[in-house]
Every structure is written in structure tokens, then in C-alpha cells.
Symmetry: C2
Subunit: 337 residues, 2 copies
């Protein structure tokens, strides 16, 4: 293996992604330290704080049960804004099309983007289209960038997890990754798992209102899944997190496909889920509030910050053991988003 070459795993969201970011990309581009990295950058500006984020989408296949590359791209960027507590203000759309791509499919994808944007209450205000010759891209890649307005004074950041915090999730894990994987592998007929792609900004608004300063961290467990995201937070906040396998919401269908394909649902991507770290005195109230929201009916407390220090994650398993949880290493499911 030539160490100079980019590997698929560099796009996994896991360990190799972090190495590429920390060794090459961040030092070259910006110098932002690991502890300051969040789903969106926060900019000081005369009118208050702005959030700014970007994501490219290369999912394969481009249509899958529960969504397509279009609503995925809108929801993903809205969610990255929501994860720093920002209200989305505007989105941009950058299309890279392969020569020969179908205009009808493009139209279907664009309508899906518009619908998702309308549902999230955000306008698509600017865009760009490039076309490359056949064979130089795969059908369609979409970049969405977004600006949000931060209207609160809360400190919601990956480095802000505190000992005692309860960890809440708004529903079942792994749905998106398994839906895409099943569609790709032709398992679509054997399972009815749908992607959970959805915008979480209204759910976040409710959580913020209910939790106030008790809300310490918000992050959406996309590439790399819940395990990788929690490990990132443990590293940034330098805390020890203990998850409880018993409380992880998981559809039997997702469990089944994971077993079939040899995947661990804890590492499978989600696109309509968030993890909230909330101080213990408000956690139950926030949980109740989340359960009343359409995107949170199956919300659960799945673990807690058991100690300051350690920068590690462990999980009490169903059979009563204690298992170390690390980041995804390499690539489990390429082109999942």
C-alpha cells in the first residue's frame, strides 16, 4: 500500500478521515485545533453570530428507500447548522453532472431538494453547475453549503461535554446506512428499512428551549455512526463516556441486515439523528419533549459521561460485559452520503 495515496477510508468519517484532516488538510488550510472543530464554523459578525457549513454528497445509489441524493444534501447541511444551534438562513447548491446524465432524474432530484428546503424553512439562494465528460464523475455529485443565524448565547460544542451529562438520541440507529446499502446490493425487496434523512432544526429548537444552558453538545452521527461521533466528542471534551447497549434504539430489520452483511449498527451512518449531551437535572424533561416531536418519538437516553478525563468510550453490552468503543477504522460503507 503506497502511503502517499488517498484511500477510500479517508472518506469514511472514521480514523483515516481524522488522520487526513489532522495531518494534511487542517494544517494547510486553517490551523483550527481539533477541540474547536464542529459541524459548522461560527463567525462573529455585526448582526450577531453566523454559522457556516459545507458538505458534498456522493451517495450511491442516488435514489434509495426514504430519499435521494437531493433531500439528503439539503437535510445534511441544515442539520450541520442545527448542530451548533443555528437557524438556517440560506443554502447554496453546487452540482457536478456527468455527461449523459438524465435531465428527468436531475429534475426529480432538484424537486426533492426544494421540498426538503421548504420543510426546513430555508431558501436555496445561489448555485453552480459543472458538467464533466462521461466516465469522469458518477452521475451526479451535489455540494450544499449553508449559512445559519445563532440567536442564543449557549455554548454548544463538541468540547463542552461534562461529567454527569446524559446522552440522548432521537430514535433508531443505522437506518440510513442500511437503506442505502440494501438498495446498492439489491436487497431492497428483502427489507423495508428506509433512510431516516430529515431536517432536525425544529427538533433542535425544542431541545434548546427546554434544556437551556444544560445543553452542552449536539452532533449528528452521520458517517462513522454513533460510535465514531461519540468518540470524537470524548476526545474533544477529554471525558469518558459509557454507553448502554440495552438502550440503543434499533430496528429488528436493521439488526438483521447488519448481521447478514457483518456490520455493527453502532458504526452505520444516520441522516436524521442527533446526539444531545444534557446535564442530568434536565435530561428527563428534554427526553419527554423530544418524544413529543415527530422526529423524536423513539428518543432514548443511551449513556452518560461517567468521568472527566480519559478521552474514551466504553459500552456495557447486553451480555453484561464492558466493551471499548473506538472510531471506525478504514471504510465500512463507502459513498453512504
Amino acid at each position: 500500500m503506497d502511503r502517499d495515496l488517498i484511500l477510500l477510508g479517508h472518506g469514511s468519517g472514521g480514523k483515516l478521515s481524522h488522520q487526513l484532516l489532522d495531518d494534511i488538510i487542517i494544517p494547510a488550510l486553517s490551523g483550527i485545533p481539533v477541540s474547536g472543530q464542529n459541524d459548522a464554523a461560527i463567525l462573529a459578525h455585526a448582526g450577531g453570530r453566523l454559522a457556516f457549513t459545507t458538505d458534498s454528497y456522493v451517495v450511491d445509489p442516488i435514489f434509495f428507500p426514504g430519499g435521494d441524493i437531493g433531500d439528503l444534501a439539503v437535510n445534511g447541511t441544515v442539520n450541520d447548522l442545527a448542530m451548533v444551534g443555528a437557524q438556517p438562513l440560506a443554502l447554496s447548491v453546487g452540482l457536478i453532472l456527468e455527461e449523459g446524465f438524465s435531465k428527468m432524474q436531475l429534475h426529480r432530484i432538484l424537486l426533492s431538494m426544494r421540498k426538503a428546503a421548504d420543510e426546513a424553512g430555508v431558501a436555496i439562494v445561489t448555485g453552480d453547475t459543472k458538467v464533466v465528460p462521461r466516465g469522469k464523475a458518477d452521475q451526479i455529485f451535489i455540494n450544499t453549503s449553508g449559512i445559519g443565524v445563532i440567536r442564543h448565547e449557549l455554548e454548544i460544542a463538541g468540547c463542552n461535554a461534562q461529567a454527569g451529562d446524559k446522552i440522548l438520541i432521537n430514535g433508531t440507529i443505522g437506518d440510513h446506512g442500511i437503506a442505502v446499502m440494501a438498495a446498492r446490493e439489491g436487497l431492497a425487496l428483502t427489507t423495508d428499512v428506509k433512510s431516516d434523512t430529515a431536517s432536525l432544526n425544529t427538533l433542535v429548537a425544542e431541545i434548546m428551549e427546554c434544556a437551556g444552558p444544560a445543553l452542552h453538545v449536539l452532533r449528528d452521527p452521520t458517517r462513522g455512526g454513533v460510535a465514531t461521533t461519540i468518540k470524537e466528542i470524548a476526545l474533544q471534551s477529554e471525558v469518558t463516556v459509557t454507553l448502554c447497549e440495552e438502550f440503543l434504539p434499533l430496528k429488528a430489520q436493521v439488526q438483521g441486515v447488519c448481521s447478514l452483511l457483518g456490520l455493527d449498527p453502532l458504526y452505520v451512518a444516520n441522516e436524521g439523528k442527533l446526539l444531545a449531551f444534557v446535564a442530568p437535572d434536565r435530561a428527563e424533561l428534554v427526553l419527554e419533549r423530544m418524544r413529543r416531536h415527530p422526529q423524536g418519538s423513539q428518543s432514548a437516553i443511551i449513556g452518560e459521561v461517567t468521568a472527566a478525563g480519559g478521552s474514551r468510550v466504553q459500552m456495557t453490552t447486553l451480555v453484561g460485559g464492558l466493551r471499548a468503543v473506538d472510531m471506525l477504522s478504514g471504510e465500512q460503507l463507502p459513498r453512504i452520503c
Copy 2:
């Protein structure tokens, strides 16, 4: 030719691009009318007006005389902000990498981005990296999006050209397109034409200060070249523009390669040029000011708005004729940016 398929020409910046935008993309995504389309969207916000823009870069080859895909991506987005008179505040970077791409080349490109950003005085604050399997992309595609702050009350827009306006350009045309084309075709040794890729925000600041409300339109003639850009403005402002071939700044080398390849320099992409429409009473003063700027030493007045109405562009040629100038139709130079 199947009319349902995307063609290379849909990415040309010319007629087919406009058709795709007007028929499919804009109606689906936003509904912004043609007259309101500019290089960046303008957002009202508590702290003043914000500009927001996005561009994807798929240039081939990724390294070319005078630049690479990295500084091109930074300068291009800075310029789109500058063209609405905005001071760049922050950039995002979205990378799509092909499996097997060289980390050393990636590093070189990132350093080039950082250098360009430093020169333009803008910070790269957020980013995203995706990797696709070998053969599913071509080395590296880069999306840059940008936020700018608008600190003036001027109305600078493509729909604001007025009868009598002089049309200024800050130097020679076609350099970027010919540098890339020469590198691609292996003509690099026979010509020393370099891309003009550069950030124009400081030049724009000088123009705005000197022209004040006499500055009506700013636009950078990238894909589709000067001809397509002027035609766009003539359509948006519903005016007749007359260019004068004699006054078009053009390097002999660029002229030579254009003759060799059968290209019209008026349609060749620029990446460090702007067109300014300025009321006649301030045009000479602005021209002098532009010539004192490092990016404007060869500035020239290349034409004027000869009438309200008409929505068309014509050019008095060197041999004394009058030629109609239309948008680029189809694709002259694919993957030029």
C-alpha cells in the same frame, strides 16, 4: 441526440447552460427570475447585507501555467463575492477525491488555496472531504462557497446597465482558457501564456471608491468569456451594447494559440478579469485608478451601452464591420474551471 440527456455544453456557461438553468434548475430550486441572477446572492440580515456564493471546480489538468485547481477555486469564489461589491468574510472548502489520488498533490493544492486565501484576506473556516472509488471521479473536484459582507448602499447588479455606460476591463482576455488548453494539449512548451487567476477584491474596492454610484454592473467573464458575460448583462438590463474589437486587450501569444485551435478569444474563459459598467462622467477616472492597481495595469475601455432596449451585443470589428455577438453556444473548452 437524446434531448433528455445532460451534454457537456450544459456546463459551458453559454446558451445551453442558461437553458438548463432557466428550464430546469431555477424553477425547481428557487424561482429567482433571470434579471435577479448575479454572481452571488444577497441576503438581508440584522447586521447588514450578506453575499453568498458557491462554485465547483473540475478543471483539467489540475496544475497549469499560472495556477492550479486550488488557487483557482479560492480566487473564483472571492471574485464572485467581489462582483456584488462584497468584502469576503469566510470560505468553505468541499473536496471530492478519487481513490488513489496523491496526498502530495493534495497537499500542494491545499497550500495553494491557503496562499490565495491569505492574499485575498479571507479565512477558510469549514470544510468537508469525500472519497469515491477509482474511476468514479477525476483526481480532485473542489467546491468553494463564500460569505461576504456588503458595506455600501450601491446597486451593483447585472440588471443595472444604463445607456451611456462605458465598459471597462482590467487587462488582457483569454489568458486562463488558453493556458489551461495549452497545458491539456501539450502545447505548454510552445507558449508562455499563464492563467490570470487572481482575487479581484482589492481592485473592486478601489473601483467602488472611485466610481461611487456611477458603478452600475460588475461581473467576471469566466466560462463563456467576455462575449457571453456581456450578452448576459445586455439581456438582464435590456440594453444594446457595442464593443470595439480594436480596444480589446489581447496578448499576441493568446491570439496565436486561438488561431491555431480555431477559438475566438472573446469566448475564452478569464479568471482574473472583471467587466465594469460605469457612467460616462466617471469612466476615465476609474480607468486611471484601475491602471494604478497591480491587477489593472492594462485596463481599457472596450465598449459602451449604446442604447436602452434591444438586449443585444454587437462589435465594430478591426476591418470596420459590425458583427453580432451572441452567447457561447455549446461547449468550446470543457472543464476550463
